[in-house]
């Protein structure tokens, strides 16, 4: 198969050896589970249970609120202990609303949803995916059902299944493809049916030959599904770059891959789709790679959602040294965490405890204008130029230099010899611009409200005046009438 070369990218040491031969192990249910209402992009889910209710595994505890949202299910049986804010996996360390479960230890499943037949309608598959609360499990956490319904608005030709797993350390998708190839392939076939595409490509980086072999064998049962080995290069798993590699089509700036007829889904999402459609099980667990130099015995664990990550680290023998950094996700795009007292969520593909020797923290030096970041940028941007504008508070110039086209992949920061935190500065600028826009919008809305109130008050004053005059006139007329009757 002909592949197309993408620009830029880096070759970080994959460091996957610690977990690539580790079979997925089921993690036991923890003593307490926190299920955040927002584990996806979009509106937070709305709780449908009360404190004290007894729930069964797989029962809906919070329903999707709006078109872009995702349902949350109880990940084990037990009692609802609390509904309130808990710390969530986020760089800010802030708390967000969650439902806390006290497991009863029986792990009793609720009645499963009826399995759908092989010839199910595309809309029925998408509706089941929505009911199962499935979101993009590669980390983007966009509600999958919304993407499966893209056929309504776009002319789709190709489904690309993302099994690239280009982030160092992570092997959860690799293991899932090796151990559950048939289920994954069946899930892929269901997604292709839902989207109505004729061609499906399962993209796997060449550093995963076992997964490629397993998936090739499993995909042979499904016509129209092919496995496409792609070069090992970061960020191959970025959807726009993966589509470019496979089809040669470039996604326009700030557009969707669907605009060029391609939809990208993660391989772990396909497994969840298989479970939801064929077994009637909602998304209540996921595979997480726990790795990094500070972890005693790195493993791939299947954890129920809500499991505290401190318990997952403990299952891996705990930490052997004080980690420099604990990340949720991979080392290139992961979020630094402030504590391990946070729950496992749908989008969490890895937990990394990195040693100082794994990371290159330290004071940033001045920019040499060497251009290494320009060579590394897979989007063809000039990271040094954008960062210089941001440093000087010149946000408009940063935007016109392409800030909004940055995918935040971290290639530039990884390659920078001066250790300049380029991506942080891009995150800061994007957040700052969004915040200013919110303030502007708020001010405009306030101005509109103030004007409306002024108009209303004027109208009321005029009405009052008219009323007073009418009363005065009536009183004068009455007086005149009285005088008239009194006179003769």
């Amino acid at each position: 198969m002909k592949l197309f070369r993408i620009r830029g990218g880096v070759h970080p040491d994959p460091r996957k050896d610690a977990t690539r031969e580790k079979t997925i192990v089921d993690a036991p249910i923890s003593a307490v589970l926190h299920l955040p209402l927002q584990q996806h992009i979009g509106a937070p889910a709305r709780p449908v249970v009360k404190v004290g209710d007894h729930v069964l595994k797989g029962q809906v505890i919070a329903e999707a609120a709006g078109p872009v949202s995702a349902t949350v299910h109880a990940s084990t049986s037990g009692a609802v202990a609390a509904i309130g804010p808990v710390p969530v996996p986020h760089a800010s360390g802030l708390a967000a609303p969650a439902i806390t479960l006290a497991p009863d230890g029986k792990d009793t499943w609720a009645e499963p949803m009826p399995p759908l037949p092989d010839d199910a309608e595309p809309a029925a598959i998408a509706a089941r995916v929505a009911a199962a609360g499935i979101v993009g499990l590669g980390g983007a956490t966009f509600p999958s059902a919304v993407k499966l319904n893209l056929r309504e608005r776009h002319k789709l030709t190709t489904l690309v299944m993302n099994g690239a797993e280009c982030e160092p350390f992570l092997t959860c998708d690799d293991r899932l493809m090796r151990e559950h190839a048939e289920e994954v392939a069946a899930g892929v076939a269901l997604m292709a049916r839902a989207l109505g595409v004729g061609r499906t490509l399962i993209a796997i980086e060449t550093n995963k030959p076992e997964a490629t072999a397993a998936m090739t064998e499993a995909a042979a049962l499904h016509p129209g599904i092919d496995v496409a080995p792609v070069p090992t290069r970061y960020p191959m798993g970025s959807e726009k770059h993966l589509v470019h590699t496979l089809t040669g089509l470039e996604t326009p700036a700030r557009a969707l891959t669907a605009d060029i007829g391609v939809v990208v889904h993660n391989i772990a999402t396909a497994f969840a789709v298989y479970e939801a459609v064929k077994l009637g099980r909602p998304l209540v667990s996921r595979v997480v790679t726990v790795s990094g130099g500070a972890v005693a015995e790195p493993k791939n664990l299947r954890a129920v959602l809500g499991t505290p990550i401190s318990d997952l680290i403990a299952l891996c023998g705990g930490l052997t040294a004080e980690p420099q950094e604990i990340l949720s996700g991979g080392p290139m795009m992961g979020q630094p965490l402030r504590s391990t007292d946070i729950p496992t969520v749908k989008g969490m593909n890895g937990i990394l405890a990195l040693l100082p020797s794994d990371t290159r923290r330290g004071p940033a030096h001045a920019c040499l204008r060497c251009g290494t970041c320009v060579t590394a940028c897979p989007c063809g941007l000039l990271p040094l130029e954008i960062a210089a504008n941001i440093r000087n508070g010149n946000f408009d110039a940063a935007v016109s230099a392409g800030l909004m086209d940055c995918i935040g992949c971290g290639s530039c920061a990884y390659a920078c010899p001066s250790r300049i935190p380029l991506v942080q500065s891009f995150h800061y600028a994007k957040g700052h611009i969004a915040a200013e826009q919110r303030v502007k919008q708020h001010n405009e809305e306030a101005k509109r409200l103030a004007q409306q109130k002024a108009i209303r008050q004027e109208k009321l004053a005029a009405e009052r005046k008219a009323m007073m005059e009418k009363k005065k006139a009536a009183a004068a007329a009455a007086r005149a009438a009285q005088e008239g009757t009194a006179e003769p």
Partner: protein, 187 residues
Amino acid sequence: MLEAIVGLTALGGGLGVFLGIAAKRLHVESSPLEGDIEAILPGQNCGQCGYPGCAAAAAAVAKGEAPVTVCPPGGRPVAHALAEKLCLAVDLSGFAETGPMVARIDETVCIGCTKCSRKCPTDAVIGAAKQIHGVIADACTGCGACVAACPAGGIRLEPIPVTLQSWYWPKPGTGKTPRSGNGVLTQ
């Protein structure tokens, strides 16, 4: 040839005289700058700046009597826009930035007098007579008009809490938060 020269000269001269007279007769006294400045200001006439309404504040800013940091609810973005409009180099770092505020009514104190809802320039306070009032946070500008109006002293301005939706990474080198995880790996 001569006709063309005479004709065009007469046309030019005539139009010149016409424009001259028009400029004199249609001359507008007020500075257009005031209007531009008023458009930048939030326009709620809350009076926090000490001037009677946004138009008066705009006039004062245009005359140079008031600083560009005149508008507390507008905050840093408005001050920045004003400084740009007036081509002034203003050090906004010294501008006391309390952050956006929102009014909050203490339900145990509220007597339902509707004084605050009548004073609110943006109709952000809801509630009828003898009913406990509430604030629609999205419509509140934190101008504080209701705080002064409340006879029971039951309204406070509180900073708007930071949420997952509004939080963003600090500028590198300024915050105490850990640096972003992106590309932390050793080469």
